[in-house]
């Protein structure tokens, strides 16, 4: 059995085989593997006696449940109107330069993925960015670079 299959068996053990166990299992896989691979979705479908299309349908509905490979650290910059008006484009620009990737891409060493996100609920403190589960409000271009540098220094 592969690591993914073992992970899913553990998650099924914990959350059960009901239809409503699907969400926590999907989230569990994403938190470990950063995305839902074809193999993972099939294994989940098999365990929960669902069709693979059903699992894919649920997963693809949620922005934070990725179905394409992502890097170890996922950076999301809010693209909604308040953050837009407070220069989110500039933040994205410096991050693209720093990481040498465009929005939607992953660095060659698979350590960083740069994405945009819909409203993160921090309109009063825009522009805001999210690295993994950590929120960074009122970022400036300089601050954004420093935040990412910190992650680069951490050997992960």
């Amino acid at each position: 059995m592969t690591n993914t299959e073992n992970l899913i068996l553990d998650l099924v053990e914990k959350h059960g085989r009901e239809r409503n166990s699907l969400m926590p299992i999907l989230q569990g896989v994403v938190s470990q593997e950063k995305f839902l691979s074809e193999e993972a979705m099939i294994a989940i479908a098999r365990e929960l006696d669902l069709s693979a299309a059903d699992v894919y349908g649920t997963a693809s509905f949620y922005t934070f449940l990725d179905t394409v490979p992502r890097g170890k650290n996922i950076i999301r910059v809010c693209k909604t109107i308040s953050c837009h008006m407070r220069n989110k484009d500039e933040i994205i620009g410096v991050l693209e330069d720093q990481l040498k990737i465009k929005v939607g891409e992953t660095t060659h060493d698979k350590r960083f993925t740069l994405l945009t996100a819909n409203c993160l609920g921090w309109c009063h403190k825009g522009p805001v960015m999210l690295v993994n589960d950590e929120v960074y409000p009122e970022v400036t271009p300089q601050k954004a670079i420093e935040i990412v540098e910190e992650f680069m220094k951490k050997n992960n």
Binding site: M41, I42, A45, R46, L50, A53, Y56, G57, S60, T67
Partner: protein
């Protein structure tokens, strides 16, 4: 009871009735797209909106239950404007290539748009991938996302009626689409090709792969000898697409039309349905003997029917461990093709390579079936093209034939004679009833103990039906069956099939023989039948099938004189060497994931 007013007319209806249904009772038709009588309520298309006095927003009448004192307006100014906008918005994302669309004239969106006189795009044209990316990977079903309005009838059909869920709603907002797993080609995913999604698609997003041009080309080719076979259920439904009332029997007109269109011989799948009963009935009795007398543990019971190719593929995917329970008999369509290109080709002195076999089927899965590599026992592709009832109707129109005015004609011989037992193959329970009529008589020498041979317990629309028949006064050859209670079950629609199979798998049942048809109602409700479908339409077609049976002189398969002749002339005996070669097949386990 709940009292309300619709368009100022008072009405009183049962609690829980929807506004849509209450309006229908007052003969106010409210247009719908996502709503369907066979499916759960979705309420997503919004064309059925109505105004309710005191409510701030318009309400989807299909998803709004009535309440006391409610005042509903189905055609107010606000409603009309909103409804027009909804249709305009749907059209802004719909590839309206109506003139070449297979659903032209049968498209609910088109009908609604013309009802409201909506033409040019009012909103920005947002059709993605216009005139491209049709999924034509499947020999049965064509999926065209540029025509999809995301009403999700197909998704509900595949989940609720068929328990397959090959299609799901994926992504959201303006990215939302109806997709297979990871958007893989239809032919590569767990799809049974049953075509029930096509029957319920309100637009041309899901249609059958059509072979009309190929068939005309064969007819026009002077070197080709084109024979056509017609399935039982087509004769009680074809009329619907040609301006005749639902439930009309049009057997004679259909034969007449096919002859006028230029087919060299018009023959009947009902003939091979009778032949199937001889083979399958003998197979059942042989299995019973092996289990009861020889105690042969390799022989599996219950035996399961194998006529429905949607059901076969479902089992290959979902219950591959029970493939040995399936009867090895080919379906009547494929038995016909195998015999046509061997025995019949010799009879009419035509080389098999010059023969083209076309079958008219109520089914889309038959298109997949005829392409299976196992189905070439004549040395050629046994059945060349499968047309649905709908495709035949289209060809009849193209040929300029006034169907309603046609005189009845008769099938050609040989392979054209049939009995009432064959025609009931078209309704759920029919194969079971036909098999019992023959097997019981073979074993006891007497007719089945039911009035007029009508085995009522296996008929009807219940999802899973059961019956038991006590076998009494056996003839010596079958004396081991004396006193045996033969337990049978019948299921139709794959969701019901799944339930039945699960209970068999768990060992909760004691059946000897089960019949399963992939589509709700059996073949009369097949994925290739005229659109629309509903429980009421399927009931009328079923009544017509049984009326056709009652109208036949011969009503038991073993009394078909042409079947007797084929055995005498060519096949020998049921399950004999030749039969084994031409009329039987094997199955293959497929992945569920």
């Amino acid at each position: 009871m709940v009292n309300l007013k619709i368009n100022n007319i008072a009405i009183s209806v049962e609690e829980g009735t929807t506004v849509l249904d209450a309006a229908k009772r007052l003969n106010f038709r409210i247009p719908t797209l996502c709503n369907h009588p066979d499916l759960s309520v979705a309420g997503n298309c919004r064309v059925c909106v109505v105004e309710i006095k005191g409510a701030r927003l318009l309400a989807a009448s299909c998803a709004t239950p009535v309440s006391e004192g409610m005042e509903v307006f189905t055609n107010s100014e606000k409603v009309r404007i909103a409804r027009k906008h909804v249709v305009e918005l749907l059209l802004s994302e719909h590839n309206s290539d109506c003139t070449k669309c297979f659903k032209n004239g049968h498209c609910e969106l088109q009908e609604l748009a013309s009802e409201y006189r909506i033409g040019d795009h009012v909103f920005l044209d947002l059709v993605k991938s216009k005139d491209k990316i049709q999924d034509i990977s499947s020999p049965s079903i064509v999926k065209d996302n540029s025509k999809c309005i995301r009403c999700q009838r197909c998704v509900r059909t595949c989940a609720e009626l068929q328990a397959v869920s090959a299609l799901a709603v994926v992504h959201k907002g303006n990215h939302q689409s109806i997709s297979t797993f990871l958007n893989k080609p239809m032919n590569d995913v767990v799809c049974t090709n049953c075509g029930q999604c096509i029957n319920r698609c309100p637009t041309g997003a899901l249609t059958e792969r059509n072979y009309i041009e190929e068939v005309w080309n064969a007819i026009y080719d002077p070197k080709k000898f084109v024979v056509v076979e017609t399935a039982p259920a087509t004769r009680v439904a074809l009329g619907e697409d040609l301006g005749i009332d639902v439930g009309s029997r049009v057997t004679g007109k259909m034969v007449s039309a096919l002859k006028k269109m230029g087919f060299n011989k018009v023959l009947d799948t009902d003939f091979t349905a009778d032949l199937t009963i001889m083979e399958e009935g003998t197979e059942l009795l042989t299995r019973l003997k092996k289990v009861i007398v020889d105690k042969d543990e390799t022989v599996k019971l219950p035996m399961m029917t194998s006529c429905s190719p949607g059901w076969i593929k479902f089992q290959e995917h979902m219950f591959p461990g029970m493939l040995d329970n399936l009867s090895t008999c080919k379906s009547p369509q494929q038995m016909f093709g195998a015999l046509a290109k061997t025995y019949y080709a010799d009879k009419v002195n035509i080389k098999a390579e010059n023969m083209v076999v076309v079958s008219i089927m109520p089914c889309t899965a038959k298109k997949f079936e005829c392409n299976r590599p196992e189905m070439r026992d004549s040395g050629f592709k046994d059945v060349d093209y499968v047309l649905t009832t709908r495709e035949l109707a289209m060809m009849v129109k193209q040929a300029g034939i006034d169907f309603d005015k046609l005189e009845d004609d008769h099938y050609d011989s040989i392979l054209g004679e049939s009995t009432g037992a064959a025609v009931i193959f078209g309704a759920t329970g029919g194969v079971m009833e036909a098999a019992l009529r023959t097997a019981y008589e073979l074993v006891t020498g007497h007719e089945v103990p039911f009035t007029n041979l009508n085995i009522k317990p296996v008929r009807g629309i219940e999802g899973v039906k059961e019956a038991s028949i006590k076998i009494k006064n056996t003839v010596p050859a079958w004396s081991f069956l004396e006193g045996v209670e033969l337990n049978v079950a019948v299921a139709h629609g794959l969701a019901n099939a799944k339930k039945l199979m699960e209970s068999i798998e768990k060992g909760e049942t004691n059946y000897h023989f089960i019949e399963i048809m992939g589509c709700p109602g059996g073949c009369i409700g097949g994925g290739g039948q005229p659109i629309p479908t509903s429980p009421e339409i399927r009931r009328k077609r079923t009544d017509a099938i049984y009326a056709e049976d009652m109208g036949m002189t011969l009503r038991k398969s073993h009394e078909n004189p042409e079947v007797t002749e084929v055995y005498k002339d060519y096949l020998g005996a049921p399950l004999g060497h030749k039969s084994h070669e031409l009329l039987h097949t094997h199955y293959k386990a497929r992945k569920r994931y």
